[in-house]
């Protein structure tokens, strides 16, 4: 009996479609464990998981196109999950009705100002058009930002990175900036966290209290919808 040809076993493993699926599942669980143990906002599971996947693909010499094709059985659920974002939004309907105008005015002016400033500054410093189009939806939650960026001619993966950066930077600077501006109303603080730092800001807002957290979640969901509906129409 001759020995097993380990080289061909290795090649067969790498070529198997389930390799990409297993890699994604393992990377996510490692990233999640790291995030929970450390408690650091910077170590967002998507970011760390993505880096683990990219690192492994590089080391094994697999290109992104074949990884994406094999892992599509995971990615196919992104669409239904995006549709499902309507459920948390609906839960806030009572709060939205109570403070309809303050919420709407703040969301629209804050959202427009954020997009305009980001595009103006990055554009003035010479960023590429596809980079700008990926930057514009960065205040939305990730699935929305990725869809909108692609719709506008940007890159979904770049948008994902920008969403992460915005969330981490906004959450890190938030308490300081809101303190300077003399904002102490929990609903106002929460809404600002949600508008500017989406899910990461919402996690921070929940630490400040229930009302703050609820308004952050509301700001995040509503701004996501506004960006999804109007950005493609305005910039497209």
């Amino acid at each position: 009996m001759s020995g097993v040809d380990w080289h061909s076993v290795w090649t067969v493993t790498l070529d198997h479609p389930l390799f990409s699926v297993a890699l994604t599942l393992i990377a996510f669980q490692l990233a999640l464990a790291l995030y929970r143990r450390s408690g650091w906002l910077v170590l967002q599971p998507v970011m760390v998981g993505m880096l683990l996947v990219v690192g492994t693909l590089y080391l094994c010499g697999i290109d992104y196109a074949s990884y994406r094709a094999d892992a599509s059985m995971i990615a196919v659920l992104v669409g239904p999950a995006t549709v499902a974002l309507a459920v948390p939004l609906y839960r806030h309907i009572r709060r939205i009705q109570q403070l309809f105008w303050p919420i709407l005015i703040t969301l629209v002016s804050g959202g427009v100002l954020g997009v305009a400033l980001t595009l103006a500054i990055a554009g003035a410093l010479g960023a590429d058009l596809s980079v700008l189009m990926s930057l514009s939806p960065k205040a939305a939650t990730m699935p929305i930002a990725m869809l909108v960026a692609e719709q506008l001619g940007g890159l979904a993966s770049l948008a994902a990175v920008f969403v992460m950066l915005t969330g981490v930077i906004g959450t890190a600077l938030g308490p300081l900036l809101l303190g300077w501006a003399g904002v102490d109303h929990p609903a106002a603080r929460g809404l600002s966290y949600g508008i500017n730092a989406h899910a990461i800001g919402t996690a921070r807002a929940l630490e400040e209290g229930d009302e703050c957290g609820a308004f952050a979640a509301l700001g995040m969901s509503l701004l996501g919808i506004l960006i999804a509906l109007f950005l493609p129409l305005v910039l497209g």
Binding site: Y64, R68, V78, T82, V87, T106, A122, H185, A188
Partner: protein, 121 residues
């Protein structure tokens, strides 16, 4: 239970994608699906249990699902690195303005509304 909720979400996404392809090319299909679902929930005045469970499950694992498209950065890292100073400045400076602005505006509007309701009382 989960399957029932998932069926709803998939059908709505399909409907959204058909509308995207035939009527509204500016909006991505899943986003139209989300708006349709929101409209349905408003009409129904409540969230059906299967949908609630499926949505909670999917949204809990959203980071896992998003790793796949996010890893596409390996094909576009050059664009990211080339424009890094412009990107960093755009992100940080806009946040420095909008975080205090949104908080300040919302606080002002809430206080104004409170004062008005007090006046009426």
């Amino acid at each position: 239970m989960i399957l029932k909720g998932l069926t709803w979400l998939v059908v709505l996404q399909l409907l959204g994608s058909v509308i995207h392809l035939s009527l509204l090319p500016a909006l991505p299909g899943p986003i139209i699906g989300m708006v349709l679902l929101f409209g349905l929930l408003l009409l129904r005045r409540g969230i059906p249990e299967p949908l609630e469970k499926t949505a909670a499950l999917l949204l809990q694992y959203l980071p896992l699902l998003l790793i796949v498209p996010a890893a596409g950065i390996m094909t576009s890292s050059e664009a990211l690195l080339a424009d890094l100073p412009a990107i960093a400045a755009g992100l940080v400076l806009s946040l420095v303005v909008t975080v205090p602005f949104c908080g300040w505006l919302m606080q002002r509007l809430i206080r104004r509304m409170d004062r008005r309701t007090e006046d009426q009382a």
